[in-house]
Amino acid sequence: MKRLSAKLWQVKRVVGPCMLLMMAASVAHAQDAPHPVIPDTIQQRIAACTACHGVHGEGTPESGFFPRLAGKPAGYLARQLQDFQDGLRKYGPMEYTVRQLSPEYMREIAAYFSAQDVPYTRSPMPRLSGDALQRGEQLVTHGDPSRKIPACSACHGAQLTGVQPDIPGLIGLPYDYISSQLGSWRTRTRATVAPDCMSEIANRLSESDISAVSAWLAGRELPGDMHAQPAGSVTPPLHCGVLGDKGDGV
């Protein structure tokens, strides 16, 4: 018995410091962990997106260069990813990033950004004459029937905050962003599935119309509720492939 307890003591003498060492090591490990735990979240997975568009899809409102994604309708965002993948929208870094994502993953990413609620920020505006702004308001709210230009509000909603699930809002966006998108429909660096109604409209606008519309939209006071209107709340005046309409266009 005595021999046994002596043996145990010997074991303790060896094991004790070992355990202390192990505990010290694990504390040191926690402090100096080479790998922080990587969260299994969509936000962590899409670091390639959030590096430019912001963790919550806030974009870069001060420059307008990286568009805001937060709160845009999910169907619209997923469609843009698909269009970049198919080369209908042309921008090298986006085409490279999304080139082999599956439709399911693109929808998941779109849903993430669509669900983000981020306050809107004011962006720099060009100085435009009162006449130009009036022309902008006219085009946005009534269109120009003589040139077959429908009102923006006919599709994008009376509040211009978009319509679920496929039509984006137009207010709260920077002037530079709106004008460059309208321009890119004309230069064919932005397109979508046929019939591409926005391409038709952009090509009916003059360059001064584009400035006028963009400036009026960018300067508009924002309504309290910036969410897109419910699905089915507009009847588009043109055939739009993105809305599932395969008509021949007007």
């Binding site: 080479p34 990587i38 670091a47 390639a48 993948q85 085409e95 490279y96």
Partner: protein, 428 residues
């Protein structure tokens, strides 16, 4: 410049010699009705299914499909140092595709690198590798292609300048670089090794990227798989030897299988052109074929040791700058020790694409970021932010130099000018 003049003079001479040679090489197409292969044979569902698998192994759709276009209808423009070559429509459309082709015509293209009328095909179509494909496998692929819905899509014009637009100039190229002949199994090796060699050297056409090319776009040793810069695309396809000093030194058979099947392994993650190869082709390979490929790659010989970097550059300041950028931007995911996070972020320590000779891959991955390949085994991949907008050329050069020399890595430093020329984003 002098080299270019010499090349042009040599090519011109060869064009003239090749002229008469080419005329003698003209052949008549074989009509499907006159083919030795019956229409019924081509409709055999088992043969078509086998052909679909083989077309996936060969990743035919990669070149023969345009961005956003119909599969196999061609139209993708392949950039080469000699000009742009559009891939043709290989759906069975009679006017613009292979609708009027017989198997004999297809075999002549795949095996001999000649079109229906005997014209020489540009080797951007990798017949240097496809010539090794067996007659039976070629027949299955033809049956599959003929079973596709025909798509009417006319060929785009060839974007080659003189003298490369003269097809007979290819006689000289073929004399130098093309050996016609199906794969001959090595009786001294296992069945798996031979299957792997057949897939890697033939349909998989791995050597077309993973081998150095000379100024005429030819590969001196076939198959070398010793790594090379992909012309025009400007990615570096690493050496595939797993032995000492090889690009994949230390990779186990399972590491190779994992990368080809899921896009990721404990040793690295596929990106750039290889990400697409994994997503479209290798993830769909049967496990025994993946193991066969790994068996063959593991038998590639050891490589000569790389001479120590003798650059007179004093890199101490660059490494200090790079270490800071690494700690701020990279360490959260890749770890201070550069070992990554298993199954999520690849290790940079000992990574073949970090240490490859040119540094192009690391520079471009830092600039472009991107998702790991999307595969059935990794359907929601994690991604890396693009740093093109956030880091200037000096910071990119510094951080890449740092990761190429930290831990066990010991590759050459990267300069700002190496970063500048890689700032554009590739689409194709």
């Amino acid at each position: 410049m002098k080299r270019v003049i010499v090349i042009v003079v040599v090519l011109l001479a060869l064009v003239l010699i090749g002229g008469w040679w080419w005329r003698s090489g003209t052949t008549q197409p074989v009509s499907p009705a006159a083919s030795a292969v019956s229409a019924a044979t081509l409709k055999d569902p088992a043969l078509i299914a086998k052909g679909e698998y083989l077309a996936t192994v060969g990743d035919c759709a990669a070149c023969h499909t345009e961005q956003g276009g119909a599969r196999y209808a061609g139209g993708r423009v392949l950039a080469t140092p000699f000009g742009n070559i559009p891939a043709p429509n290989i759906t069975p459309d009679r006017e613009t595709g292979l609708g009027d082709w017989s198997f004999e015509d297809f075999w002549q293209a795949l095996h001999s690198g000649r079109g229906r009328h005997g014209e020489l095909l540009y080797p951007v179509f990798s017949y240097t590798s496809f010539t090794k494909v067996t007659h039976d496998d070629a027949l299955a692929m033809f049956a599959y292609l003929q079973s596709l819905p025909p798509v009417h899509q006319p060929a785009k014009p060839l974007g080659l300048d003189f003298p490369y637009n003269v097809r007979s100039s290819l006689n000289a190229w073929r004399a130098l670089y093309f050996r016609e002949g199906t794969y001959q199994p090595d009786p001294g090796k296992s069945e798996a090794w031979n299957r792997g060699a057949y897939l890697v050297q033939g349909l998989g056409h791995c050597n077309e990227c993973h081998a150095p090319r000379d100024s005429l776009g030819g590969m001196q040793s076939n198959p070398s798989l010793a790594g090379g810069q992909i012309p025009a695309q400007n990615w570096y396809a690493p050496d595939l030897s797993t032995q000492a000093n090889g690009g994949l030194a230390g990779w186990s058979e399972q590491d190779i299988v994992d990368l080809l099947k899921t896009g990721q392994s404990a040793r690295g993650t596929a990106f750039g052109p290889m990400a697409e190869v994994v997503a479209r082709s290798t993830q769909h390979l049967q496990d025994d074929d993946l193991h066969a490929i790994a068996t063959y790659l593991q038998s590639l010989p050891a490589r000569a040791p790389v001479a120590a970097d003798r650059s007179p550059l004093d890199t101490r300041a660059i490494l200090a700058q790079g270490a800071k950028v690494y700690a701020d931007r990279c360490a959260d995911c890749h770890g201070k020790d550069g070992n990554g996070v298993a199954g999520i972020y690849p290790p940079l320590n000992g990574n073949s694409s970090v240490n490859e000779p040119t540094g192009i891959n690391a520079v471009r991955v830092v600039l472009l970021g991107g998702f790991a390949p999307l595969t059935a085994g990794n359907p929601r991949p994690y991604s890396m932010p693009p740093f093109a907008q956030q880091l200037n050329d000096s910071d990119v050069a510094a951080v890449v130099t740092y990761i190429r020399q930290a831990w066990t890595n010991n590759a050459s430093p990267i300069l700002e000018r190496d970063v500048i020329k890689n700032r554009h984003t590739p689409i194709d």
